[in-house]
């Protein structure tokens, strides 16, 4: 009953704190969508502008392989003859300039001039090199056929790629690599402002005395604060997750490549259940740690000094989960933060093993209990009454 009353008080305080509302709700629901959608929109419109613009390609006349011009035109490029392709690129008359020369052994050397600082030039270069490869293939085929050589002799090997990963695993691979990392960071950063406000802020505003003199034990006071901070962490994490998800889907409508990818994706409900199961003990662990650290600070500003390094420290184990090929092992399941990020990645990819996952849950629950104990001790000190 008393826990519920205090939890209500802490939640009301968080909800009326402008800083917490900004970081917890406004950033994920407004700032992130606006930024991501604006970036996607401008990227897509810039790409479309580049595609629609003319792409002149200056070519030294009489290119020895027939049909190059028509191949370039098929790719949306505009070839024109030029005696100085390099200067045409330098002056901006052409995106790409092709200069060719016949060498002593009879082979042809084609030099492609381009401007690496110009997006249009780079776009055209990619097309020109692909066209030159095709032209070389066509020339080789014509010559060999003229000599009567069978195809297997001059082209003994063809390579074909086929992705056998089911859509669920592809989704997991793409989401899991990023999601574990992002979510773990958000859970830690999401609780910081509330922890500073509910603990150091309480000391700074001299409300700690009336709270401690109320007929309620310090452990209940600490538990309610930890629960409120953990709740704020979870809300921040999940709102950000939802926001990123919606932005990703929306961005898919702007880009054909992303659209193909989002069509392939299939939601993995078991993966998301594991994600939630993993994040809850992590949020409690993070909240306890933040409450414990904040209770040593006499003011909000001092709490910032203690808690800011924490957000930098958690980046490293979270980043380790992004290493390619990494999988959650029983030993890795004991490493806090890393284990949650890896469990999320494994769950979304569908290759999470049960034993390491259970170990990670138990380990995180033990760490959360330890951090709660530390927070209770920090809150039980007489020094908690002192403020700046």
């Amino acid at each position: 009953m008393r826990f519920r009353v205090l939890l209500f008080k802490e939640i009301v305080e968080i909800m009326r704190d402008r800083r917490a509302i900004i970081s917890m709700i406004l950033v994920p629901l407004v700032a992130i969508p606006v930024i991501l959608i604006a970036v996607s929109y401008f990227t897509a419109s810039a790409m479309s502008r580049i595609e629609k613009a003319p792409h002149p390609v200056a070519i030294r006349p009489n290119f020895p392989i027939q049909g190059l011009d028509s191949l370039l035109v098929e790719e949306g490029l505009s070839p024109f003859p030029s005696d100085s392709p390099r200067s045409d690129v330098e002056t901006g008359k052409a995106d790409v300039g092709i200069w060719w020369e016949r060498r002593d052994d009879g082979t042809i050397l084609a030099t492609c001039y381009h401007d690496a600082s110009d997006e249009s030039s780079e776009y055209s270069l990619a097309k020109v090199t692909a066209v030159l490869d095709s032209a070389r293939e066509m020339n080789l085929r014509d010559n060999m056929e003229a000599l009567g050589a069978p195809g297997w002799m001059w082209r003994p090997l063809s390579v074909r790629e086929e992705n056998v990963a089911p859509p669920q695993r592809m989704t997991g691979y793409i989401l899991g690599t990023l999601l574990g990392y992002i979510l773990v960071l958000l859970v830690f950063t999401g609780g910081m402002y509330p922890a500073m406000d509910l603990v150091a802020g309480e000391r700074e505003r001299h409300t700690i005395e009336i709270l401690l003199s109320a007929p309620v034990s310090r452990s209940v006071i600490v538990s309610s604060k930890i629960s409120a901070v953990a709740l704020a962490s979870l809300v921040t994490g999940l709102l950000n997750l939802a926001s990123y998800g919606l932005c990703f889907v929306f961005a898919g409508t702007l880009s054909p490549e992303l659209s193909e990818l989002t069509k392939e994706m299939s939601p993995n409900s078991a993966g998301f259940l594991v994600l939630f199961l993993s994040v809850v003990p992590l949020a409690i662990f993070a909240a306890s740690l933040e409450v414990a650290l904040a209770s040593y600070a006499k003011s909000y500003r001092e709490a910032q000094t203690y808690l800011t390094p924490l957000s930098l420290i958690v980046i490293f184990p979270a980043m380790a989960s992004m290493m390619p090929g990494a999988q959650l092992t029983s030993l890795g399941a004991l490493v806090p933060i890393y284990n949650t990020a890896m469990a999320i990645k494994g769950a979304l990819m569908g290759n999470l093993r049960v034993l390491p996952f259970i170990i990670s849950l138990v380990a995180n629950s033990v760490y959360a209990a330890g951090a709660t104990f530390l927070a209770s001790r920090a809150f039980g000190r007489e020094g908690i009454l002192k403020a700046d």
Binding site: R2, V5, V12, E209, I210, A214, P215, E382
Partner: protein
Amino acid sequence: MIEAQGLFKSFKDRRRGDVRAVDGVSFRVQAGEVVALLGPNGAGKTTTMRLLAGLLRPDQGKAKLAGRSPEEAKALLGFLPADSGLYHRLTPKEVLRIFGSLSGIPKEKLAKRIEYLTERLGMTGFADTRIARLSTGMRQRVAVARCLVHDPPILIMDEPTKGLDVESSRAVENFILEMKGEGKAILVSTHIMEEAEFLADRIVVITGGRVVAEGTITDLRAKTGKEKLREVYLALVGGGR
């Protein structure tokens, strides 16, 4: 009801080493009595009150409220700290509801008590306004209401009129006297002799962490041989240094 039995409390200070804030303080406050803890700033009044409220543990001695330890008697105590910290993002009604609920008062009884205190302390006009927007006087009335919401038989009030104008001070003082009339044991700290005289049945003069005099205002006048209150106070406090 309130009993300080040979209380000692020291703090560690980086510059000054061990500082004894309370040095063998003893006194009693009976039901229906107001006792003023009088002394200059840094005399040990706040530490003594925190020891009695169970916020600090004494190094030696015992603090008792209604015969129990302060931890056991929290529900019987209304504690008003000196700086009157309040939750600025909450409204007075919310603060009263939360602290009343923490004391385990049933919902209906609490609603009536809040209504009574809101009217009695003249808070009706701002009971639903966030505390951040209230004046110092309004906040102090909320703070007093907060420590009375569970109708405790024991009140410990650290400088209850601090920062208030004369009018607001007198309103709070009158309310304290009314509480005394209801039979509550009240300990009030102050460094203003006139306030102590107006409120208290007995005065405990404390300086340097020690009790240097105790008695009615008549007793203290007789002890010092001074007539004017300020002279009485200076004679007692100076003598303790």
